[in-house]
Amino acid sequence: METVVFLTFVLILSIFLGFELINRVPSVLHTPLMSGSNAISGITIVGAIIAAGMAERSALSTILATAAVAFATINVVGGYLVTDRMLKMFKKKDGGQGT
């Protein structure tokens, strides 16, 4: 029960933090925001790795967990790379990238 309360506590605070952060993202960057947050939701890979690396597994759960790792990796790799590709294109008038 204590764990549940603690995890819920983390959840609620994170949601508030999320609202504060995302409200500051200008509409110009909404597409990179979506693909970038997609990459972050690929964090499921942590769960997938644990499930795929456990000692005792049935054949079915191995297949499921491996597929989960693959899908989450696509999210992570594809999400970050395509976001970078987009953000690279946003330039200021003087032509500078403005790093």
């Binding site: 993202v25 597409t31 979506m34 970038g36 990459a39 997938a48 790379l81």
Partner: protein, 458 residues
């Protein structure tokens, strides 16, 4: 310090990097670095997990990571910027299915689930499944593999309500008795997938910005639920950030259409629309590109209003070229972007950035509207409903109340359009008949190319 402690601290660091990364997304100047920081956070989280004591065999993990990396790199490299909505839809779906699969694997591996874990497994499967199948349907609609029109049928609401009820019952049974027969679990998987399909098919192509944002949020919530399943904070924090992001974007999109989320999700807009507003009357004044050039040549300020048609005709590069010629001619050029222009939030901004339009020339609807009467020429490219004055002055119109870019207040309006066919919503647009409007018919890319040719001649 124990290994457990080190892993935990690494997760904290990863969470901090995600937060800082999102914070840096508040300006195009720092955004790219922010994304890189966020990626470093992800890498740390993955490495820490590989050190976890529960992880004893690595080869299947390696197989999964290799497959995913190859697919991810290829997808990110090859996707055309016009196809970004499809890509994001697929990524949403993959996040969802990953959560479903993890919950499923945990369910198979752990013999004695507690009631609470059972509930979170159920939620993980339900949200993950809805996200997955819903995103696939959204993808198929965006790619126009299936019709983008809303698909509505008799008894749809009843069917959806039954599915929802079935899901709730499964949840109750599964939570009360996690060991009580795997068929309940199987039914939950099937219901979640059906629910995803059923909830997206009645939504039309032009409402896709809302759907993608909402599914984006779901994919975060699915990760959150999985975090509860495996008792892991980093999943909960990251999932909540993504969930909040999707919800905010959904809200922005709904406000930009002056519709409630419920209306978008359940009304089958465009298919069941009752009122169509007053029929627009008047004479359409067509203009040739040659004559349009003469007007543009004399203009001191020009606003370009892009819509989904810009993406369809791939006209972003010629638009930028025309913009540069106009600027060389001493004209001020800006691009006014409606929040729901295109098929996903920020779609038009990315296309124009791809064509090298500087982001300081991209202006939001609210910023440009007050200045509209001082604009010499507003060029509408492949947009329709977002510039329809009916939204302001015709209470019988289905889009009445939707904020629009007030191009009709500009001195002259050029509308680039293939034909006089009505827009997505099937609503007449009085803008086309206004005294200050000139229609330039034809493919947008060809029209703009001929304008460029005129400029180069002149």
């Amino acid at each position: 310090m124990s290994l457990f402690g080190i892993i935990g601290l690494t997760y904290v660091l990863a969470a901090v990097l995600f937060v800082v990364g999102l914070k840096m997304l508040s300006s195009p100047v720092s955004a790219r670095k922010g994304n890189a920081l966020s990626a470093v956070g992800m890498l740390l989280a993955i490495v820490a997990t590989l050190l976890d004591q529960h992880v004893v065999s690595y080869h299947w993990i390696l197989v999964g990571i290799l497959l995913g990396t190859v697919a991810g790199i290829l997808a990110a490299r090859l996707v055309a910027m016009t196809k970004m909505p499809e890509m994001v839809a697929l990524l949403n779906g993959f996040g969802g299915i990953a959560s479903l699969l993890v919950a499923w694997a945990v369910y198979l591996q752990e013999p004695g689930l507690s009631h609470f874990t059972a509930l979170t497994v159920f939620l993980s499967v339900l949200i993950g499944g809805v996200t997955f199948s819903g995103s696939l349907v959204a993808y198929l609609k965006l790619a126009e593999t299936i019709s983008g029109k809303p698909l509505v049928f008799k008894g749809q609401h009843l069917a959806n309500a039954s599915l929802l009820l079935g899901a709730v019952l499964c949840g109750v049974f599964f939570t009360l008795d996690p060991q009580g027969g795997s068929w309940i679990f199987a039914v939950t998987v099937v219901i979640s997938l059906l629910l995803g399909v059923m909830s997206v098919i009645p939504i039309g192509g032009a409402d896709m910005p809302v759907v993608i944002s909402l599914l984006n949020s779901y994919s975060g919530l699915a990760a959150c639920a999985t975090g509860f399943v495996i008792v892991n904070n980093i999943l909960i924090v990251s999932g909540a950030l993504v969930g909040a992001s999707g919800i905010i974007l959904t809200g922005i999109m709904c406000r930009a259409m002056n519709r409630s989320l419920g209306n978008v999700l359940f009304s089958g807009f465009g298919a069941t629309t009752v009122g169509v507003g007053q029929a627009a009357k008047g004479v359409v004044k067509a203009l040739s590109p040659e004559d349009a050039y003469l007007v543009l040549e004399a203009a001191a300020s020009v606003i370009v209003v892009p819509g989904y048609g810009l993406a369809v005709s791939q006209a972003q590069h010629v638009v930028r070229e025309l913009g540069e010629l106009l600027e060389a001619n001493g004209c001020e050029v800006r691009y006014a972007i409606h929040p729901v222009a295109g098929r996903m939030p920020g779609h038009m901004n990315v296309l124009l950035a791809e064509a090298n339009v500087p982001y300081d020339q991209l202006v939001e609807m609210d910023a440009i509207n007050p200045a509209m009467p001082t604009v010499d020429v507003a060029i509408v490219i492949g947009a329709n409903d977002v510039v329809n004055p009916q939204a302001l002055n015709d209470p019988s119109s289905p889009i009445y109340g939707m904020p629009i870019i007030k191009v009709h207040e500009a001195r002259t309006v050029f509308v680039l359009k293939r034909s006089m066919a009505a827009g997505f919503a099937g609503i007449d647009n009085p803008l086309f008949f206004a005294d200050n409007t000139r229609m330039i018919f034809g493919d947008a890319k060809k029209t703009i190319s001929s304008l460029i040719a005129e400029f180069k001649k002149g």
